[in-house]
């Protein structure tokens, strides 16, 4: 089964926290003020964080069941 997740490239993230505010499931957090990170256990791939990201760097990524186990 293929599931959608939010993917945030660390190197481009400005850690503004807009995605944290937008996430209805508290699946995103800013790690020590450096970058935002998605907790794949809680992310449902709704895309709200991608919409809110001022840098437009958050993408929806499809992850298959096997890959999911590996994350």
């Amino acid at each position: 089964m293929v599931k959608k997740y939010a993917y945030i490239p660390k190197e481009n993230c400005v850690a503004c926290g807009c995605c944290v505010k937008a996430c209805p499931r508290q699946a995103v957090s800013v790690i020590k003020g450096m970058y935002a990170q998605v907790d794949m256990e809680f992310c449902v791939g709704c895309g709200l964080c991608a919409k809110a990201c001022p840098a437009s760097i958050i993408k929806q990524k499809e992850v298959s069941g096997i890959e999911e186990k590996m994350v």
Binding site: V14, G17, K32
Partner: protein
Amino acid sequence: MKKKWYDYLWIVSVLYLILGFFNILFAWLGLLCFFIPLGISALGGGKLYCNKFCGRGQLFELLGNRLGLSLKRTCPSILYSKWFRYGFLVFFLIMFFNMLIVTYLVWSGAHELSRTVTLLWTFRLPWHFAYPAAVTPWIAQFAFGFYSVMLTSTVLGLVTMAFFQPRSWCVYCPMGTMTQLICKQKNKKSCRSV
């Protein structure tokens, strides 16, 4: 979600800009927007200021999202590229030091007080109406200079808000870049790949 007290800090940002039209000395309060975020990051609080307390970010969000003043286009990659963000930070700091030098010159008597606000580091706007009499000239000069910095960054933020995402200012905000650099420096081990 229930709103917290800090969700209303955009009102403080608006008040700050308004007060600058009546008495330029209020511009000194803007130093809080410099020292608080730097202090929080230096003390290990990460980017708590950007994430929760930045009134300017909230204001852009309000204008762009609620009032629909943003076209919400995809942000061009140049805005979040490292060279642009760091370049803008360096430029911003140079202009800030330039403002401090002018303040020093007024203090030393080598330069006369200029009752103007410089917008976008270029356009001198007459601002004598907000100048209270009987104020030590260098104190007023710093206030004019600092208000110029705050007004310029607000105008830049409004322009990018209108074209791109509401909070696109956050992408290249020099304070945000500085606090992120402090955080990265403090957590060097865990961010080697970033």
